[in-house]
């Protein structure tokens, strides 16, 4: 852990979205993470929670009693508690909406905000420039409207599990990761930014919708292409890919190595690095189409070759040959695996973010900007930490942002 690059951040107020005010009405992942990304890009983000707090506060594992999922999804935000079901809370929310640039929520149905008296028409009247993304589970209306979604429901429903699994085995869930939740947040962030760009050019904001179902299908765009063209899909392929041969993990003398040869030149370089240039001359393996047709025969040949020496030796040869590859980490925790990766380590891509709940390991912002460097401004807020400060500074956006940003303390500023 100590070996992770410590968090040397550029000063605040540098991001491209500095001066923007974002309201996060979200729960769990898809809404809050998108708001968190806007925060990394420089916006001031206020997270509204009910007295009970976000639904994911209570999961495991925890730090100081709060789930790391909640903590990780709400870095750098300011926290207020508002009861949206009470007249007073609704009035407070409306005061915030009047001065905000962005509102994002991911209630399961688009109708929840309408029922709260904060539907698109009300928001538009309060603030015509507000960019509002309503990120539901399965989209607006339809037979599944109002059904809950989460990582695993969307893995099942989007077809993801049908193409994930051991070769020829039944599809499986990715129980230890939540990549489709995060992908949904990536989609939501694009949606918010596109609407903001449009608002900047035309002066009008407005309500838009996204969904976890739609986002998950979109994340599979390359894999869906065969069925969209009326062809059969290849199903589960282990570590293999439907159209590239070879692009797969092979067992070495002491572990596994992932190797990809997506282009014809790369295939030739791979064969040279393996010391088996004869493979390129074999008509069964001459083109990617031929290799696709003879996938199993080639896999047998390559497996026999990779078994002859250890992973480190193969990595060295494949790096020299400019062939995409990676060692499959073994007997390491995730953080050990990330930290021992030369590029992740040297570039400080996993950081420690200090805060009320302790030091959290986290991604670095996943973009680089020449003039407006993004940053993670601090840890997650306590429940209702800035309620009073926010309510005392609602006269204008500039006033509120100045008050909030000035309140970051050494303990919370990363």
């Amino acid at each position: 852990m100590e070996s992770l690059v410590s968090n040397a951040q550029p000063p605040r107020a540098g991001g491209p979205l500095a001066g923007m005010l974002v309201l996060d009405f979200g729960q769990a992942a898809m809404g809050p993470i998108a708001a968190e990304y806007l925060g990394m890009l420089g916006a001031t983000v206020i997270k509204l929670q009910s007295l009970k707090g976000d639904t994911v506060r209570n999961g495991v594992p925890t730090m100081k009693g709060t789930s790391t999922t909640f903590l990780g999804n709400n870095l750098g935000k300011f926290g207020i508690v508002v009861d949206l079901k009470s007249p007073q809370g609704k009035a407070q929310a409306k005061d915030l909406i009047r001065i905000a640039d962005v509102l994002i929520e991911n209630f399961r149905s688009n109708e929840v905000m309408v029922r709260l008296g904060l539907g698109p028409a009300v928001l538009k009247e309060l603030n015509p420039q507000l960019v509002y993304v309503s990120s539901s589970a399965y989209g607006a209306g339809g037979p599944l409207d109002n059904m809950r979604s989460n990582e695993w429901l969307t893995e099942a429903f989007s077809g993801f599990t049908s193409v994930t699994g051991g070769k020829g085995q039944p599809g499986e869930f990715s129980r230890g990761t939540a990549n489709l939740d995060w992908n949904g947040a990536m989609v939501n962030t694009v949606a918010l930014l596109a609407a903001l760009v449009h608002c900047g050019r035309t002066g009008s904001g407005g309500a838009t919708t996204t969904s976890q179902l739609g986002s998950s299908l979109y994340s599979g765009v390359t894999r869906f292409t065969d069925v969209l063209a009326g062809r059969a899909d290849a199903g589960t392929l282990g570590s293999g890919a439907p159209h590239i041969v070879h692009d797969e993990a092979f067992q070495t003398e002491d572990g596994w190595i992932a190797v990809s040869a997506p282009t014809q030149r790369c295939w030739a370089r791979l064969c040279a690095a393996l010391g088996h240039e004869d493979l390129t001359a074999d008509p069964r393996f001459a083109t990617n189409a031929a290799r696709l047709a003879n996938r199993d025969a080639l896999a047998d040949r390559l497996a026999a070759i990779f078994a002859t020496t250890n992973t480190a030796a193969w990595c060295e040869r494949l790096a020299a040959a400019d062939v995409p590859h990676a060692k499959v980490p073994q007997n390491m925790t995730l953080l050990e695996a990330l930290d021992s990766h030369p590029q992740i380590h040297a570039e400080g891509l996993v950081r420690r973010i200090p805060g009320h709940y302790g030091s959290l390991s986290s991604q670095a912002p996943h973009w680089r900007f020449e003039h407006t460097p993004p940053a993670i401004a601090g840890g997650p807020p306590l429940l209702g930490e800035q309620t009073e400060l926010v309510l005392a500074n609602l006269s204008s956006k500039a006033t509120l942002i100045a008050a909030l940003e000035a309140s970051r303390t050494l303990e919370t500023v990363a």
Binding site: G139, S219, D233, P324, T333, A364
Partner: protein
Amino acid sequence: MTAQSLLAGLKVIEIAEGIAGPMAGKVLIDLGASVTRIEQPGGDWLQALAAEGETSEAYRQLNADKHLLSIDLKTAAGQAQLDALVAEADIAIRGVRRAKLAGLGLAPERLRGITPGLILCYISGWGSTGPMADMAASELAVQVACGLTRYLGTPDTPPVRQGFDLVAVDTGLAAVQAVLAALLWRQHSGQGQLVEVSMLETAIALMQWDTTAFSGPERWEGRQLNGHLGPSDHGYECADARCLIDMRSNEEAWPSLLCDLGCHDLAADPRFATAAALDLHVTKLPALTAPVMRHWAFADLEKLVRDKYDGIIVPMLDLAQAVAHPQVRHIGVIIEGTPRRIRFPMDVV
């Protein structure tokens, strides 16, 4: 006003092959931008990835509706064509590795000399600085390096990848985030800038749930520190489908549901008696209920779980079933045509 016209009027140049870069162009085109794609002699490697006599559907999907120009950037005429495009452009996306840049005229200083407000986006595999800068990357290699494959399969079987190209696709999304944020900044500063994304950094972002969970928390329960969670989770296998049952809105009902299913011994098992215990043990139920589950038809199971217990049950759909599902058709993200296409899943109310 539709989501498909949010970025109308925006002019984008795309010089990229494979998935991540062309995906960025696709997202921008789905949102209404105009994208000119420059292909150099030899075309895009993605085109060749198809069976004998077929075209690459991934290539067609990612590059549909782009204005395609074949330009040899190593010639003076090619450079003049490029310059004319850059003079009109708001955004240029470059996925070409530096090793292959020589003589292509794509250096930022040169392009900005033509259009000072240009937003230039570099997309790379491992990053453009650091010990692995500019090395060749792939979806699989980055998934493996960042832990996306960590919990799939079992410790004694070969590695398994996530079946969607999540890293490359989301790198395209990350690139769009960067260029749109840079556009917002340009709206008030008047300045363009260079922005960069990489498959590596995107993959680490996708793993944030795990990265934060391993911070050193006080209470380790549920997910384990090391590798696999145990057996792979293939869902519940009933008579005619595999499915997922989610009772999170009514977890106390599990014992009663298990009784109805015919698993009387499990109904009395303390591992499935309380919400807290279920949190740790619920993933064991598919294997434990397998002997009775195979006698249930999905329709009957659905009725029981949904109507009697207010639980959620969804079939594990294959890709063709997902595309044909009434809800998917309802939300309109699949555009009819030849071939059908998936559009950016955003709508204006």
